[in-house]
């Protein structure tokens, strides 16, 4: 039913909720006119008579099923047979410490609860230096992946005549022997397309393959990866790098379209650091302040004190404007300090990431952290004084996938101590100056 046609043009101001509605696009009209969104399962080609027949049959079957249902069900106890798995005590959970690669790179240390060999719950390993008992949503959801009926259990063969068909591993072996025989002499022209993985078994398999086909190409690709950021750091510094944040020290965090607590390799340590910077134990403790600039409301946007919706295309411009603001207020040295992220008020250290380039991910988080600690801090920012150190060099200026750009706290120490709610009055003003549309959200 065309609502708009029947109601006619409303008198007074015409309100609309989206550009699609305003311009009455075809997709929007279809959405309005259909009862269910596209893709929802509907009972099509069913007459009223058929529907009543189906319902009647269902009720009759349910009634018939109830009569034998009154009997006590025949409950079987299936025991183990010849081999009893070690450590399994029926009725008691058995925990396995394991690790799982993350889609964005890195890995997590996990503790998996199993009952009689079936995994039921995934939690972070309390002894793992990065997880410390916590885990990411990816790890939480991993149990669902295990029991996913759509999970690929066998190879699929793209038959030229019949399309995609299920195959067995024996089929794959037979096909592989024939297929790879053509590439025996070095493997030129052969390419393996995989998703990036950080697993020793995977690396061993890769090494075996590359030893057999030294001239083959190994390409790792992930549609939603952080390759752009790595490539940006390579452009800036000459080597591919990845940031390691220490939010625990940050007073002001500006997130440019980045869901740093949820959806990336360092999410757990980021969230922990953010929590530490946010937590108030005594009256003199200060909360960090989080500004989120992003096109959609992400987890970080929910956490933020100040949230600005901005189209992705405008975020680089925002970064430039922010840099200009810092420049105007604090001078070049402060901007450099912020850009390098070496200030006390917030760290965004960029670590060399040689494995990344080779299509692998570093997942030894503990080692990475300890290396970070040893790294020199060329520029320290203490008590409002800027002390230049050695080795200072500028960071990528406008990084597209924005990072938590650190800034130093504004306002004098005394004012901060006396009014813990408005810890950073100067910064509020600063942001209000540069972000006229900033929605001030009380972090109550």
């Amino acid at each position: 039913m065309d609502v708009t046609a029947r109601v006619g043009t409303p008198s007074g101001k015409g309100y609309w909720r989206s550009v699609d509605e305003f311009s009455q696009t075809g997709a929007f009209r279809e959405f309005v006119e259909r009862e269910f969104p596209g893709g929802a399962s509907e009972l099509l080609d069913t007459s009223r008579r058929d529907f009543v027949k189906l319902m009647g049959a269902s009720v009759a079957l349910a009634g018939a099923a109830t009569i034998p249902g009154c009997r006590r069900p025949d409950h079987k106890i299936m025991t183990y047979s010849a081999d009893v798995p070690e450590h399994v005590v029926p009725g008691k959970p058995l925990f396995y410490a394991t690790s799982m690669p993350l889609p964005g790179g890195g890995a997590e240390g996990l503790l998996v609860e199993t009952h009689e060999g079936r995994p039921t719950k995934v939690e972070g390993n309390p002894l793992h230096p990065n997880n410390r008992g916590r885990c990411s949503p990816h790890a939480m959801a991993a149990t669902l992946t295990i029991y996913d009926p759509d999970r690929l259990m066998y190879p699929i063969y793209d038959n030229p005549a019949r399309g995609r068909v299920d195959a067995t591993w024996d089929d794959f072996k037979t096909w592989g022997r024939e297929h790879f025989a053509a590439y025996e002499g070095g493997g030129a022209g052969l390419a393996f397309l995989t998703e990036p993985k950080s697993s020793p078994a995977w690396d061993a398999a890769k090494a075996d393959l590359m030893a057999k086909f030294p001239n083959a190409r190994w390409v790792s690709y992930m549609p939603a990866g952080s390759d752009a950021a790595t490539e940006g750091s390579r452009l800036a510094f000459g080597t591919p790098m990845r940031e390691v944040f220490d939010f625990a020290q940050a007073r002001v965090i500006v997130s440019l379209d980045r869901d740093f607590t949820d959806n990336e390799a360092g999410a757990i340590s980021n969230a922990r650091g953010f929590g530490a910077a946010r937590r108030v134990w005594k009256s003199t403790d200060q909360m960090c302040r989080l500004y989120a600039v992003e096109p959609m409301h992400s987890g970080v946007g929910m956490l933020s004190d100040h949230h600005v919706r901005l189209a992705p295309s405008q975020i680089p411009a925002f970064a430039v404007a922010m840099a200009k603001a810092v420049l105007a207020r604090r001078g070049n040295a402060a901007l450099q300090a912020a850009a390098r992220g070496r200030g006390r008020t917030g760290h965004c250290r960029v670590r060399r990431d040689p494995h990344r380039h080779a299509g692998q991910d570093v997942h030894r988080t503990a080692r990475r952290r300890s290396r970070c600690r040893r790294s020199p801090r060329p520029l320290a920012h203490r008590g409002g004084r800027v002390a230049a150190g050695r080795g200072a060099r500028p960071r990528a200026r406008t990084q597209r996938r924005g990072s938590a750009t650190p800034a130093r706290p504004c306002g004098t120490p005394s004012s901060r101590a006396t009014s813990p709610r408005r810890v950073l009055p100067g910064c509020d003003h600063w942001l209000a100056t540069w972000l006229p549309g900033a929605s001030r959200r009380s972090s109550a």
Partner: protein, 231 residues
């Protein structure tokens, strides 16, 4: 003028009241007696695979301890049914068999078949608590000194196991309210013949154990809160 209703109909309201009261009493009494676990559950005896497991021979005649097969009963909430390999330990080919005969070999053939095929034996469950009883830990009850006999009956004299007690909520609560009626020393928990004699004597006031001492050794008073079992 003839009467529209005969006179005897005056008694109808009284009769009706008595009949409906009788009906109510009948329904309550019937439900009370028949629609209870003690009617539906006690005596449940499913057909076990093969020739079944004869508790009367193994536990009664041969004197095997319950925990030889139900080995995890002291460390797990569930009393496990033994793996096929446990049966095979005695009933494998050329194994020690106290009453070895052709008849015994035929009866136990299903064990060797299952072991050779690496298949499970589909034992039928006899004792089953409802799903809304989320917590019944065997290990806790054993370590408190509740004998197998209290819930499972005299298993040692059952050729095929059947359910001996109702396992209803009042059955549980009676014991949780008066644990001194059921507790036995922990080393006697699986000695069902001794326990049967002791509990009988105790009911007659001639028990040989100090029930105060037994209840005093409990870590906690037996819980009577809903959440203890219906977690």
């Amino acid at each position: 003028m003839s009467l529209m209703f005969p006179k005897w109909m005056n008694a109808l309201p009284t009769l009706g009241a008595i009949a409906s009261m009788g009906g109510v009493v009948t329904v309550i009494a019937g439900t009370w007696y028949w629609a209870t676990p003690s009617f539906f559950e006690v005596g449940y005896q499913p057909t076990q695979p093969g020739t079944g497991f004869n508790h009367k021979i193994h536990a009664g005649k041969l004197g095997m301890d319950c925990r030889y097969c139900h080995s995890n009963v002291e460390k797990s909430p569930e009393a496990n049914i033994p793996a096929v390999s446990t049966c095979y330990g005695c009933h494998g080919p050329n194994k020690v068999s106290p009453a070895r005969s052709t008849a015994t070999d035929e009866k136990t053939q299903f064990i060797r078949d299952a072991f050779d095929a690496d298949e499970s034996i589909e034992w039928r469950r006899v004792h089953k608590l409802p799903d809304y009883v989320r917590n019944f830990p065997h290990d806790v009850h054993l370590s408190a000194g509740v004998s197998c006999l209290s819930c499972h009956g005299q298993i040692m004299s059952m050729p095929v196991v059947h359910q001996a007690e109702s396992l209803s909520m009042s059955f549980c609560l009676d014991c949780h309210r008066h644990p001194e009626q059921a507790l036995v020393p922990k080393d006697k928990v699986t000695d069902l013949r001794w326990v049967a004699g002791e509990l009988e004597a105790r009911a007659a006031g001639q028990g040989t154990t100090n029930t105060d001492e037994l209840t005093g050794m409990l870590w906690n008073a037996p819980p009577q809160a809903c959440g203890a079992c219906h977690q």
